[in-house]
């Protein structure tokens, strides 16, 4: 009978939709995407990670975002750092925490375990902790609670008693209707040292900090989220001066728009090779070739043209300083200085090894947000690749290109990739598959002379030319000259100049056959 009544109540609840799992948004960029809304509302979440993986920071960000974005006061209870130390640490990251304390929207408490190292004789309860937590919650009317970290408690007390006491604590937190984050160290045998994951079964998030090739990357993964779908992968995240950001792949990518508008490459002859119109707006263009083939010049020429058309361009230089680029490009007739003065051309210059890739991309994204450029140029991305395992660079780059596509920003980047390097390093090919247009610049060595040549390797969605052209960089700029040939063979470089002279003298061009070499039959 009793059971029947209970079932009725359950049915009622079900029909009214009360069973929906509600989420407490964290306000952390990317995090709410991979959890589809945030942490489980009014339930404790376990946050595990090794030393220095950013647990405390994520937890603090959750509390502060709660106050600033969602008007939900919070309690931060720490067992590790002293409250004033924590205050210093957090305010050094750009939070005005004093104001929050004065507003009574945050309550920081440090529970000193040191003086509490008491000898245990028999069984006990942790009601002292309950009471302090309750007082803290009531003081600010908290909706969010952080306990950082329980390991410190476990270290000094009997773990069997504590485990059952923590179980009581977590169900008490649920009754109190607060969303809690409990942090813990990563363990060897269990997920956490104390097997806390058995006690908190609702949501488990793991943070890690892995070092590959001397560059460390923070990663976040949702291990478990009872009753809710969540993204399964490990996602890189960063902590910079002010915010924690998680980089999910899922939130982007599918909503890209594909423009049919075109943008000139800045070189008339190159536009000719690309359907006579140039690149697609918002596409990604790779310029590859070995050292000294003129990749940077091509990039700078594109940037220059964009600025000439009264649009803005962001030039990300990973190799040369902006001043050096301006000087060098003036030697080929590209005057970038006025564009810089008019703020149409902005430089982002950083050594790739300065920080990990995510931070570079994040910094660039910040500039994109404020500058809103039509075009972004990266010179070169191969330098970035030294700063992480190739697969990482590729996924970061994919994410970045996806981001640019959603913003309809055309991106052109250079890379020291050649046909030869692909066979040695297959991952290079992966980069080329990400791009829409691939322009190859090469050295042609012929009879003791090196000459540059260029061709369009691929260009999605257009009928591009297959010819190889001589790529001439002079003090007046970049020119692409169709390769001519006569009886002796192909005429490029000094031979072409000599032949031109001769034909001028002869007053006829009959002995020179103008011919476009098709599909690489250059010999």
């Amino acid at each position: 009978m009793e059971r029947k009544i209970q079932n009725k109540a359950v049915d009622q609840k079900r029909s009214s939709g009360d069973y929906k799992l509600l989420k407490s948004p964290t306000g952390i960029k990317g995090f709410d995407d991979i959890t589809f809304g945030g942490l489980p509302l009014n339930r404790p979440t376990l946050l595990v990670g090794s030393i220095g993986s950013g647990k405390t920071f994520l937890a603090m960000e959750y509390i502060i975002n709660g106050i600033e974005m969602f008007n939900e006061p919070g309690v931060f209870m720490t067992f590790e750092e002293k409250a004033d130390e924590l205050l210093e640490n957090v305010s050094s990251l750009g939070y005005d925490i004093n104001r929050l304390i004065e507003n009574n929207s945050i309550y920081l408490e440090h529970l000193e375990i040191g003086s509490n190292i008491s000898k245990e004789v028999g069984t006990y309860k942790i009601d002292g902790l309950f009471l302090r937590l309750e007082q803290a919650i009531d003081k600010v009317n908290a909706k969010r609670v952080v306990l950082d970290s329980l390991d410190t408690l476990f270290a000094s007390l009997d773990r069997h008693i504590l485990r059952s006491e923590f179980k009581r604590l977590f169900s008490w937190l649920k009754e109190k209707k607060v969303t809690a984050i409990v942090t813990a160290e990563l363990g060897d045998v269990f997920l956490t040292r104390m097997g806390l994951e058995e006690l908190i079964a609702d949501c488990v998030i793991e943070l890690s900090n892995r070092i590959t090739n001397q560059i460390s990357t923070r990663r976040l993964r949702v291990l478990k989220f009872r009753g809710s779908p969540h993204a399964l992968n490990e996602y890189p995240f960063t902590i910079d001066e002010n915010r924690l950001t998680v980089f999910p792949l899922i939130s982007q990518g599918l909503q890209q728009k594909s423009s049919t508008e075109r943008i000139s490459s800045g070189i008339k002859k190159l536009d000719e090779m690309l359907d006579n119109k140039g690149f697609y707006l918002g596409s990604s263009i790779l310029v590859s070739g070995t050292a000294g083939t003129g990749k940077s010049s091509l990039l700078a020429s594109f940037a220059n043209d964009v600025c000439n058309n009264n649009q803005t361009c962001l030039f990300c230089a990973f190799e040369e300083a902006p001043n050096q680029i301006i000087r060098n490009m003036s030697s080929i007739g590209l005057n970038l200085q006025p564009h810089v003065a008019l703020n149409k051309l902005q430089f982002y210059f950083a050594r790739p090894s300065l920080q990990n890739l995510e931070l570079h991309f994040m910094a660039i994204k910040e500039i994109i947000k404020s500058l809103k450029p039509q075009v972004i140029v990266l010179d070169p991305i191969t330098n970035l690749m030294t700063e992480g395992p190739n697969s990482d660079v590729r996924s970061m780059l994919t994410r970045f290109i996806d981001y640019l596509k959603t913003k309809q920003v055309t991106v052109m980047f250079s890379a020291a990739i050649t046909i030869g390097s692909i066979s040695q390093n297959p991952s290079d090919e992966g980069i080329s598959s990400m791009v829409d247009t691939w322009i190859m610049v090469e050295d042609l060595e012929l009879e003791g002379e090196r000459n540059r040549s260029m061709y369009v390797m691929k260009s999605r969605g257009m009928d591009h030319s297959k010819e190889v052209r001589e790529f001439v960089i002079s003090s007046t700029g970049i020119n692409l000259i169709p390769i001519k040939r006569n009886k002796q063979g192909i005429l490029i470089g000094s031979k072409r100049v000599a032949a031109e002279k001769e034909s001028k003298q002869n007053g006829s061009a009959e002995n020179i056959q103008h011919q476009f070499s098709k599909d690489g039959d250059v010999k």
């Binding site: 529970l111 000193e112 375990i113 003086s115 509490n116 190292i117 008491s118 000898k119 245990e120 004789v121 028999g122 069984t123 006990y124 309860k125 942790i126 009601d127 002292g128 902790l129 009471l131 302090r132 309750e134 007082q135 408690l153 007390l157």
Partner: protein, 105 residues
Amino acid sequence: MINLQKVFNINNRKREKNEFIFELYFAGDTPISLKAANNAKAIFDRHYKNNYALHLFDIYKNPALVERENIIAVPLLVRKSPLPEIRMIGDFSDIQKVKNEFLIR
């Protein structure tokens, strides 16, 4: 349930000043609290005779205490005098262990 505070609060006024002063913090009149008070009293009665004071505090009746005394686990027994302060948690069922801590021979 008996009122622990009434039953076990012991302050021997026979002497001017007690040499041994203890404080016992507990959370409500629960079996564990009772056990702890009982055990503590038994040990002190036997070894300190009338030369001690035992003050009991219910943290639920006086929640401000938890912060002042930095209490996490209860029952908590604190020897306030003589110094140094000694803190011990539990129900004090292992009498020998308690004696060792307080250097009772």
